[in-house]
């Protein structure tokens, strides 16, 4: 297994820049999720790695081998990189088995290999004679992954492969695919717009914004310490409060909170990032430091908006389980506590 590296890759369509000097290293046998919003260029990045497009500048290497470099370009079919498209892109005129066999060399087209990869992605062997239109969406995606895995590629690229699936099916399919990738220990890059998917998918996450990778690293580390407010809000629900930093603490409407990471550049004015689940609210314990503004049931939970006693202009919205929602009503004084520390950013 070999590491995949992308260095300084730039791509524009016409005059529209899509990727600007993107660099990324995916260690051998690991899974990396690239997350970004629409138009961030993540699909293009994948297509460049696959060899469907040529980069304007930069290098893409697989181990020692340059795939895309100034003056050299290995076409897609000589790269040995598997690709799974968003809709599966199964060949409609071929059966499941023929689809999976498609990339196998002529002499290696035994059914045993087909059966093995079908098992790998937990596909019922009885499906092998079916045509794609006779499969469910989840089955189609598993066939697509099995097809990509069958020739034993060194790298597999997944372009939002689960986004078209229903919520329930989605989790199940994703788990089956992650298991299969894990077992075959293939280097994998997934692109997605779904933060939760990106954070749970693999060993590394890269955040793509405006054609650049703004941050990458292990998912927990990136989630714990987003380098910008944008990354922070993109990765999950965030509570941002104006804060004044002071000796390892930040003073804000919710009181004095320890600073875990400081990106504020030591300015006087800053904002503190908290995740909603860090904030605990209780109706009757301890001295009240806030008042409930409104309570909005949202199905399995309720959103409670509070304003602090210290700063009447700040509103904070947080969640409580729905069975506790009855404990709250507007104008009720409550006690708010913050667990753990905050991350500090410059204001504005």
């Amino acid at each position: 297994m070999t590491a995949l590296s992308v260095a300084g890759v730039t791509k524009a369509f016409g005059h529209v820049p899509v990727l600007r000097e993107v660099s990324l290293v995916v260690p051998a046998g690991t899974r990396t999720a690239i997350v970004g919003s629409s138009g961030s260029g993540k699909s293009t990045l994948l297509r460049l790695i696959a060899g469907f497009e040529r980069a304007d500048a930069g290098e893409i290497r697989l181990g020692d081998r340059a795939l895309t470099a100034p003056g050299s370009f290995v076409p897609a079919h000589r790269r040995g990189i598997g690709y799974v498209a968003q809709d599966g892109a199964l060949f409609p005129h071929l059966t499941v088995e023929q689809n999976i066999r498609f990339g196998l060399p002529r002499r290696a087209r035994h059914t045993s290999r087909v059966r093995r990869v079908m098992e790998l992605v937990s596909l019922d062997p009885e499906l092998s004679g079916r045509y794609p239109h006779q499969l469910s969406g989840g089955q189609q995606q598993r066939v697509a992954v099995a097809r990509a895995l069958a020739p034993g590629p060194r790298v597999i690229l997944l372009d939002e492969p689960f986004s078209a699936l229903d919520t329930g099916l989605r989790e199940q399919t994703r788990q089956a695919v992650v298991d299969a990738l894990e077992q075959s220990a293939v280097t994998t890059v997934l692109v997605t717009h779904d933060q939760d998917e990106a954070l749970t998918f693999g060993h590394q996450i890269g955040v793509l914004d405006g054609g650049r990778i703004v941050q990458s690293g292990p998912p927990a580390a990136v989630f714990d310490d987003p380098v910008t407010v944008d990354v922070a809000t993109f990765l999950g629900a965030a509570v941002l409060l104006p804060a004044a930093p002071a000796e390892g603490y930040a003073d804000c409407a919710l009181g004095r909170i320890p600073i875990r990471h400081d990106h504020s550049g030591a300015g006087r004015r800053a904002q503190a990032l908290l995740r909603p689940d860090q904030i605990q609210v209780t109706p009757n314990s301890g001295p009240p430091n806030a008042v409930v503004d409104k309570v909005q049931p949202r199905g399995s939970y309720a959103e409670i908006t509070i304003r602090t006693v210290a700063d009447d202009t700040t509103r904070v919205t947080l969640r409580v389980p729905i069975h506790q929602a009855a404990d709250y009503r507007a104008s009720l004084p409550v006690s708010v506590r913050v667990a753990g520390g905050c991350v500090l950013y410059p204001l504005g």
Binding site: P75, F91, G103
Partner: protein, 541 residues
């Protein structure tokens, strides 16, 4: 029936594969999406498509050269004379009365069978499209040989309205099926009655279909020869044929051709500007559930009567007439019959294969590499095939005689004429076929280790076979019915079903014409069935 193309505007035009709306990454126009599609077509392909497109323009070039060759003084003497005024009046009346009549029949019929409680509407839906299987000149023969008073403007309008209204009916039907019934239901909930819903909600959404269908009808009216010649109605096309018979491809025929071509191009421009930005208005994604039919109630007998009379007049009369003449001693054993059948098959089959070959580069470019250039090349084909067959034939006679005598009156030239006349049929089929074989499948095949050409062969080609077959079939069946160009261009000794029919019908030997008429009708049935099925396909999901 000469110019194509119920299917030109009528047929589904899926365009490039649609992005999956559920993915936010694709739902918003990707900055690179358009540019990506336009990525580097091979130079050879572009050159080939341009050369073929230019070949399609030969008839236009001919018209321009006529203007220069004859010179203005002679040309104006040949154009500004009372006879041309008569022809102009006839032609304009024909279009101005005929097109609205076909629209009324076509849209009304489509609405009745698609959106009302008309009893037996599935059967009526087929009955109403059936006239398309009877070539207009056969229908004219059917009427003219049975009811001699069918002649002149009235007769011409009767015969051609009945023969051509399906060209509006088919696209109108497709459009109505694509309408979201929720719109009609909302209108009803806002207090509109059935008729008001039809007039204020349904009709406005059919504008595109009506415009497109109306244009095709108008072009057919300008191009028709046999149907009018048979019942003594003079249009530019019939006058050109008469001039051709008097002077071969002389200046007078050319001058009339200039006027006729100008009329056609005017129609194209008028339709395009009426369409305007409508072109980009996409019709909704289709009916999620069947709409509740409008109850006709006491109007039921009237509606059934109207549909039945239309069907009887458009199909019943010509068919009965053909059968009657068949019974009156037609001979199926004449030695010319198998010969004509064989020669028709060779010419039409060759033309169909050639048309698919010629359409391929253009269709590929427009789907895979959409650009201003590819649209221009495609446009050339449509403009060329909008010209009446008589002009295309005159152009090919003149050009081959003057510049490539070795092609003069050869089978190849006949096939070339078929290609120019029927190319849109092949283009539309191929385009939708190529669009249904998205590039992403080829990319997957490449990522699985297949070279680009191998990927195309194993993934794209199998998907194109049905489209190529359908396109070729539509061209072949159209060509088998073609009369005007075949009359002028056929090689020495070559007789097709259509020309054999015509020479018998012209000599008022009705029984002898009947077997050919029957064969022409039978040959058209598959093409009409194809078009019908196409129009009924509700856009997927």
């Amino acid at each position: 029936m000469t110019v194509v193309s119920g299917s030109r505007r009528a047929g589904p035009d899926p365009g490039p594969p649609a992005a999956d709306p559920r993915s936010p990454d694709r739902a918003v126009p990707h900055p690179g999406a358009a540019a990506r599609g336009a990525s580097r077509p091979s130079v050879a392909l572009v050159v080939l498509a341009c050369v073929l497109g230019a070949c399609m323009l030969v008839p236009i070039g001919y018209i321009v050269s006529v203007v220069f060759d004859i010179g203005w003084p002679t040309l104006s003497r040949l154009i500004f004379r009372p006879r041309v005024g008569d022809l102009l009046r006839n032609t304009v009346l024909l279009v101005v009365i005929g097109v609205p009549a076909t629209v009324v029949l076509g849209v009304g019929g489509a609405w009745l069978v698609e959106r009302t409680s008309l009893p037996g509407r599935r059967g009526w839906a087929i009955v109403l499209v059936a006239p398309l299987a009877i070539p207009a000149f056969v229908s004219s023969y059917g009427w003219g040989s049975t009811v001699p008073s069918v002649e002149g403007l009235g007769g011409a309008l009767l015969v051609t309205t009945l023969a051509y209204y399906p060209l509006v009916y088919l696209p109108a039907m497709a459009a109505i099926r694509g309408l979201d019934p929720a719109l009609e239901e909302s209108a009803r909930s806002l207090g509109l009655g059935s008729w008001a819903v039809f007039a204020r909600v349904v009709l406005p959404q059919l504008r595109l279909a009506v415009l497109g269908g109306g244009l095709i009808v108008a072009l057919h009216l300008l191009a028709e020869y046999g149907a009018f010649a048979f019942i003594r109605f003079d249009t530019f096309t019939t006058a050109i044929v008469v001039q051709y018979q008097s002077t071969f491809a002389g200046p007078a025929a050319g001058a009339l051709g200039v006027v006729l071509a100008t009329l056609c191009l005017t129609l194209l421009v008028a339709e395009a500007s009426a369409r305007g930005r409508l072109r980009y208005a996409r019709i909704g994604s289709g009916a999620p559930r069947p709409p509740v039919p409008v109850r006709l109630g006491r109007a039921t007998p009237l509606a059934v009567g109207a549909v039945a009379v239309t069907g009887a007049a458009a199909v019943g009369v010509p068919l009965t007439s053909v059968v009657r003449w068949l019974a009156a001693g037609a001979s199926w054993t004449e030695p010319e019959l198998p010969a004509a059948l064989a020669q028709t098959a060779v010419l039409a089959g060759g033309g169909a294969i050639l048309a698919v070959l010629v359409a391929f580069p253009t269709a590929w470019l427009t789907v895979r590499h959409p650009s201003r250039l590819s649209r221009a090349v495609e446009g050339m084909s449509y403009v060329a095939s909008s010209l009446p067959a008589i002009i295309i034939a005159l152009a090919l006679v003149t050009v081959t005689l003057r510049t490539v005598p070795s092609l003069y009156q050869t089978a190849f030239t006949v096939m070339l004429a078929y290609v120019i006349i029927f190319l849109p049929r092949a283009l539309v089929s191929l385009r939708s076929g190529i669009a249904q074989a998205p590039e992403s499948l080829e990319e997957i095949a490449r990522s699985l280790g297949h070279s680009p050409m191998a990927a195309r062969a194993r993934v794209t080609l199998p998907r194109l076979v049905p489209a190529m077959t359908a396109g070729a079939a539509l061209v072949a069946l159209g060509a088998a019915n073609e009369l005007t160009a075949t009359l002028l261009l056929a090689p020495n000794g070559t007789r097709t079903l259509a020309t054999q029919f015509w020479s018998a019908a012209s000599a008022v030997d009705y029984p002898a014409a009947a077997p050919y008429a029957m064969l022409l009708i039978l040959l058209s049935v598959p093409a009409v069935a194809l078009m019908f099925v196409h129009s009924r396909k509700v856009p997927a999901r």
